[in-house]
Amino acid sequence: MVTATALEAELLELAGSVPDPELPVLTLRELGVLRAVHLHGTDAVEVDLTPTYTGCPAIEAMSSDIERVLRAHGMREVTVRTVLTPAWSTDDITSEGRDKLREFGIAPPRVRHDSGPVTLTLGPTRTQDEGSATEPVRCPHCGSAGTELLSRFSSTACKALRRCLDCREPFDHFKEL
């Protein structure tokens, strides 16, 4: 017989193995959005999930995927709660998560310890990163550090659109938050 805490750990791992609906290459654990699993009795469970962005529409798909997985594991009652505190940050993405993003063609966020956008200066036609003040965003295809920002908002709120100055490929950058 498994103890309550062992079962909780198992449920946490199961919920954490659910793929992100938007970036299926990452699991919810690697994305860092799964906060806790609380078991009540033997078959009722409460899951704390935090959104990446306040308006991220993927949170609803994440909740129903978690519910499905945990019910399939014998849970009768699954409640997914959205928690805002402490606020999610891209620093919560695990290092395996960052590697997977890069392999998937998305430049991972740089690790940061303050909040807010990385400072930019205005170029003649495009915006450019401030020289050496921050670590460069590297092209996920060729690894070049010479890349330029095309738009600070891309296919989803969490990404910016950039282009490599060497291989000329456009790519998404998971921007720091």
Partner: protein, 243 residues
């Protein structure tokens, strides 16, 4: 969406902040299919999505989010008149973004540092809003310091919206923030951006008798009714519909 927070929520303040986010989100959404370049199409929609997420959390603190968004009459909305102003040309949208996101970033940073009922949402949203302000600042610089036409349009837009900026710092019941100090920092920040963009700070009054207490008291400008009619039409025509 559920959000954790203390049991007592100042409803007036939650509506004020929630309605600001909801109404501006809807206005920005109107750019879909009309933005000048594809990147801006995506940027404005993403900013709108961030604001919609904030609105959902804030309105849920005050009551049922759908009922509040879709079933209130114009006079029950507590948003600033600034955010309900029509998009106008791209310069008007950018001027509105600059004025509002600068205010929102300062306000949310203060709320996030406190322990009040808005602290959890503010701590999350302030990081998103920093990107909105950055976006508005860069476009203000590019348009103000661009061609003769872009400079002139940006100047006209900043002037036209200036009279709606005083309202942001009028007291709101239940909103625990040092508004006079925020106003001083807002003016400093906007003056700095306009200066670097080669624009002058508009001269007219920032509020006046014409505003009659303004949006925070439920008094709105004429274009708001039309916006609301469009926003609420589907929900009112098909109550409880889902897809």
């Amino acid at each position: 969406m559920t959000a954790t927070g203390p049991a007592t929520v100042p409803v007036t303040a939650a509506l004020a902040l929630g309605d600001d986010a909801l109404v501006l989100s809807h206005r920005l959404g109107e750019w879909a299919g009309h933005a000048p370049v594809l990147e801006e199409e995506v940027a404005l929609a993403n900013i709108a999505l961030d604001l919609l997420g904030q609105a959902r959390v804030l309105l849920s603190l005050a009551g049922d989010e759908d009922e509040l968004a879709y079933l209130r009459e114009e006079r029950a909305f507590r948003n600033l008149q600034l955010v309900e102003q029509p998009n106008g040309d791209f310069a008007h949208t950018i001027a509105r973004q600059l004025y509002f996101s600068t205010y929102q970033q300062l306000l949310y940073a203060e709320l996030a540092a406190g322990t009040g009922p808005f602290a959890p949402l503010a701590a999350k949203a302030v990081k998103e809003v920093a990107y909105h302000r950055d976006h508005a600042e860069l476009w203000t610089l590019r348009l103000g310091d661009g061609t003769e036409t872009s400079h002139e349009r940006m100047r006209l837009a900043c002037d036209a919206l200036w009279r709606f900026t005083g309202e942001m710092f009028q007291p709101v019941e239940g909103l625990d923030a040092g508004l006079p100090a925020l106003e001083a920092r807002w003016l400093e920040s906007v003056t700095d951006v306009l200066g670097r963009a080669g624009l002058t700070v508009p001269e007219g009054p920032r509020t006046g008798a014409w505003s009659a207490g303004a949006g925070r008291q439920g008094l709105h400008t004429e274009p708001f009714g039309r916006m609301l009619a469009e926003m609420q039409h589907l929900h009112r025509s098909h109550p409880g519909a889902s897809w």
